[in-house]
Symmetry: C2
Subunit: 375 residues, 2 copies
């Protein structure tokens, strides 16, 4: 008698679900996009996640289906559900992570604080929005963006004319206020189907060129009002949207002390990798517990401060392990995580977590170790 | 470019090497005894570890070979080494973990404190030893014992006549003083080929019917003299025997305040499972680092106290996961580890780790959660 968790997508998020699955005695299986994926060790099938037959054959022996990414089409998920297969998060929740316009609309309906926004399908809409917001705005494609892709800062309709001309009937792009923010925060939450929720402390997420480069947990100076606002926003979204599993709510802390929702991710998230070494329950273990509707684990800190630094690109030698001797010798307390991916400029190929009592020291250790992988 | 670690044996120790291998981006492969082993997820081959051809074919693509157990015959290991394959720990060290008589002899030569002992191949030897030690002794087969198997408390030569009659030419059994001990301790150490060593704090190991049932880390009242003695014994053994990888030195703390070596295990060990959740570097990660001759990780505590409670036997329903909802709901801070093994009376099928500031509370949490698996 084994409990089988099926994960669609073979990226590093699926990979990092494997260690807690092993610890908990779960049988974890991955439907990977290709051979040699990051989650190779658990890949029992390679195939196209947009193909109904492929996904159904993968899912048939699984007790629950969950995801490495949010790109599985709704009709594929509907087919799984019609066959009685448990899918978490479900498509009714996932649609808001898949489509930024739906997300903005739904959050606005719920009264959740969001940046000023507008749906645009022609240049006149863009011109009007730019005029309203002082000539500068952020434009986003509704679907398919990640890590800064599908996002542009614009000053004229011409900046998005290529996106607009490609829109199908009924489709739009999202225009957003260019928020004057002090910093970016991320609130991680887990929710199980029976309703139990667990929050980790809100963290500060530092972006470089649109990609997360560092996370500081907990976010400095976040106790009290900011933590309360972030936690209650995430709890409200998780409950109202019936989110199951882990969700990351990316937030702006504005210069005038408001908290606005930037993005949602309904899966373990880069801003939660610190939990692997800094919290009693990691986001990957919690996600497994949540999608199996098991009681959630404690989300307390194992050290006052944990800092995560992403390894972007990786060593130019192409050998991810070549820096280990020096990084480990100089930084014996850090935890190095690499994803079994080929180094390539800008690619997320690993991260380093460091924990301790003294934040500057923790930052130094994490950056120092990660630095060896980026020369 | 990947670094490949090959593990001979598919038990729970091999299984628990997989999570840190994934974190470190290593390719871990297991030669398992049979299908459906505890280390199934990493098993790339099933075969007989006493068969040279099987082991050679498994080892050929590996950067290093290490072990789930100590039973691989010396001639098989010699063949690997003659082919230039790195084997850690090497056979020159492993022989002392494989043969208790050799171990006793070598430790005595090194001046390491051990219980009174004698080599016995006939009943007269047993009679003489019993007379010397007050009519009671411990008898052990030189090879193949584990978890209380191959160990007997004896009061007459008749108690071991079956073992004596089965001895081959030149073979003996080991007789030992029945040590009047206050408690059992275990000192875990790691050593890499280039000589670097790392000690974890000495722990108290509680045995029930000859099998480890609980471990308290660090051992209460062990600071100072006891920790120093345990650490220096383990360091001396590791260096003198050229041990590579993790070694557990099981110790008696006698009622007259001496520390005597009971057993050696040259691999990760049950008395070190607490490190998975209670130390910056787990014994499984450290073992991988050590056998790859990478710098060792820090062995500091992540909490003042960690207690491990073994799950022996498992639920009578046969479903290891059936107790999860209650165990997790009542004990959200504990870490549950199960091994993917069928429950069977007395079998080690999992363990629970709990950590915290207050030892009685930590003991309560660990026993409480483990208790759900033993009803």
């Amino acid at each position: 008698m084994t409990t089988v968790v099926g994960v669609i997508g073979g990226g590093q998020l699926a990979r990092m679900m494997v260690p807690p699955a092993i610890n908990l005695g779960l049988d974890i299986r991955v439907l990977a996009e290709n051979e040699g994926s990051s989650a190779q060790i658990a890949a029992t099938q390679v195939g196209d996640y947009t193909d109904v037959d492929t996904v159904v054959s993968f899912a048939t022996d699984c007790d629950v289906i969950t995801f490495d990414h949010e790109h599985v089409p709704a009709h594929v998920l509907a087919e799984l559900i019609s066959r009685g297969i448990a899918v978490h998060p479900g498509p009714h929740a996932l649609q808001f992570a898949q489509d930024k316009l739906r997300m903005r609309e739904r959050l606005a309906e719920l009264g959740i604080p969001v940046p000023g926004w507008m749906r645009a399908s022609e240049e006149a809409h863009v011109d009007a929005f730019l005029q309203e917001w002082g000539g500068k705005a952020v434009a986003k494609t509704a679907r398919g963006g990640y890590d800064g892709k599908g996002v542009r800062v614009i000053t004229s309709a011409a900046d998005v004319s290529d996106w607009l001309t490609k829109l199908g009937p009924g489709e739009s792009i999202l225009l957003e206020e260019l928020v004057d923010f002090r910093r970016e925060l991320s609130q991680l939450i887990a929710r199980r189907p029976s309703g139990e929720m667990a929050l980790w402390p809100v963290v500060e997420s530092i972006q470089t060129d649109g990609v997360c480069s560092e996370v500081i947990a907990p976010a400095p100076l976040s106790q009290g009002k900011i933590a309360d606002m972030a936690g209650s926003i995430a709890s409200q979204i998780a409950a109202e949207l019936d989110v199951t599993g882990v969700m990351a709510v990316e937030l702006f802390e504005t210069t005038d002390d408001r908290i606005l929702v930037n993005e949602l991710a309904m899966r373990p998230h880069n801003s939660g990798h610190w939990t692997q070494d800094g919290s009693t329950t990691s986001q990957f273990e919690q996600h497994l517990r949540a999608v199996l509707d098991l009681p959630l684990g404690a989300t307390g800190l194992t050290a006052p401060h944990t800092v995560m630094v992403n390894i972007l690109g990786g060593p130019s030698s192409g050998d991810m392990l070549a820096p280990y001797p020096r990084a480990m010798a100089d930084h014996p307390t850090v935890k190095i995580h690499t994803y079994g991916k080929e180094p390539r400029p800008g690619r997320k190929v690993g991260h380093v977590n460091a924990s301790g009592d003294d934040l500057p020291e923790v930052v130094y250790q994490a950056r120092g170790a990660a630095g060896f992988f980026q020369v």
